[in-house]
């Protein structure tokens, strides 16, 4: 029998990869911030000055330029979380759970904004702030899922373990969201046969599509920017925590 033990002081062994991320993402923040600002300026200019009023909704149609991008992001962010969850579970990539943790509150905020602008839009259009419309209801359930996941993140002490367990929840949610959406639609048609939501599709004129498209890009850039900043913050705060604990342990050993 042979026994060999060698102590390696690699406290940061699990953070080696995130360290690389910190290095290269630093150069991304300012260009991304400037790009986001330009896209927003352009999009808002289009939205306010260079797109027609709706013959029914009047100026209220402009809420759509905020509402639709937020609805898109509410789903995109969950998609990002689901991919990150796969990264955590399958490849155990140390950056993946950081990405998932950073994305959750962003997704919740975008979903909440989507609901908020939807309500603003709904008041003049439907005559009520809240309608149990299929899409709105699905968004509301999505918000609840986001909030549950955030609550779970906050409940764990060990964030590495939390990342793997929450990845399971995230994937279960990802499989379930289409079912929820379908069931809510079914429930909706059961209770109110006529949909109040007028279809918005490719028949929209380019004068509306252009600002919508620019705003979609602007909001997606904003998400990318906030996601990177939040990931950097998370990595740095984990490092700080590790160092504090390390210092406490060494102080204890003396």
């Amino acid at each position: 029998m042979s026994v060999t033990t060698a102590k390696q002081p690699n406290w940061f062994s699990r953070l080696a990869h995130p360290g690389q991320f910190l290095n290269w993402s630093r150069y991304l923040i300012w260009p991304l911030a400037i790009l986001t600002a330009i896209a927003f300026a352009l999009g808002l200019w289009f939205a306010f000055y260079n797109s027609p009023e709706d013959y029914q909704m009047g100026d209220m149609v402009r809420v759509m330029y905020i509402h639709v991008p937020n609805a898109w992001l509410s789903m995109l962010v969950y998609g990002v979380m689901a991919v990150a969850a796969l990264g955590t579970l399958v490849w155990r990539h140390p950056l993946a759970d950081v990405a998932a943790k950073a994305a959750a509150p962003l997704g919740a905020v975008f979903t909440a904004l989507c609901l908020y602008t939807g309500a603003l839009w709904g008041r003049p259009t439907w005559g009520t702030f809240w309608e149990w419309d299929g899409r709105m209801t699905s968004e509301l359930v999505l918000l609840l899922i986001y909030l549950g996941i955030i609550a779970l993140w906050r409940a764990f002490d060990d964030q590495l373990k939390a990342g793997r367990i929450i990845a399971i929840v995230t994937l279960v949610g990802a499989l379930n969201i289409p079912i929820i959406h379908y069931s809510v639609d079914w429930w909706n048609t059961l209770h109110q046969p006529a949909s109040v939501f007028t279809a918005t599709g490719p028949k929209m004129p380019p004068s509306i599509l252009t600002p919508l498209f620019v705003m979609l890009i602007a909001f997606t850039l904003l998400f990318a920017l906030l996601q990177i900043v939040r990931m950097r913050t998370e990595i740095l705060s984990r490092r700080a925590e590790t160092m504090t604990r390390q210092a406490a342990l060494q102080g204890d050993a003396k």
Partner: protein, 217 residues
Amino acid sequence: MSAFRALIVRDLRLAFRAGGEAMTLVLFFVMVGVIVPFAIGPDRPQLTRLAPGIVWIAAFLSMLLGLDRLFRSDDEDGSLGLLQHSVLPLEAVVAAKVIAHWLVTALPLLVATPVLALLLSMSWEQWWRTVLALAIGTPALTSFGAIGAAVTVGLRRGGLIAPVLILPLAIPVMIFGVGTMDQMAGGGATLFLIALSLVVTAFSPFAAALALRTAGE
């Protein structure tokens, strides 16, 4: 005795011996049905109309209330760690525990439905549809619950978080469950409830076992 059966028998023994938690859940289920008329008034036609919703809310709440006991005690006394070395794979361990949990927490609810049917002045047809819907839907609720219980097993405050996590995910069960009880909705809801229940029940032992393994690491 086979290991699978032995695990179910042990959990049933623990549930019915001196603990009596199963009976407490039924009591809670009936009590929710009892307090609703106090909240909305004793108008019989209105109660009849709302009965399916009330029964499902009561079932939802009592299932969520019982969630925490699914894995927690086995985790605390080390059984869960030891079961990882048993002749059963952890997925089968979870499946056995889910079956036992369903027998203890859901089956008594079915037995108690006549009381609610009486109190909420359900018709004969409404009652058997209720039993049918609960019989099909509760396995899905228990299975969703198993995932919630597994991901929160290592948390001291898990008892509160699991329901918050599981409730939005289980909304389709509620929708199709109430749909099954609604004569106007047709058979579509029942078929979807069956499909949903089968898929979730088949899938949840794997997700829950993965979560339990991760929590133990």
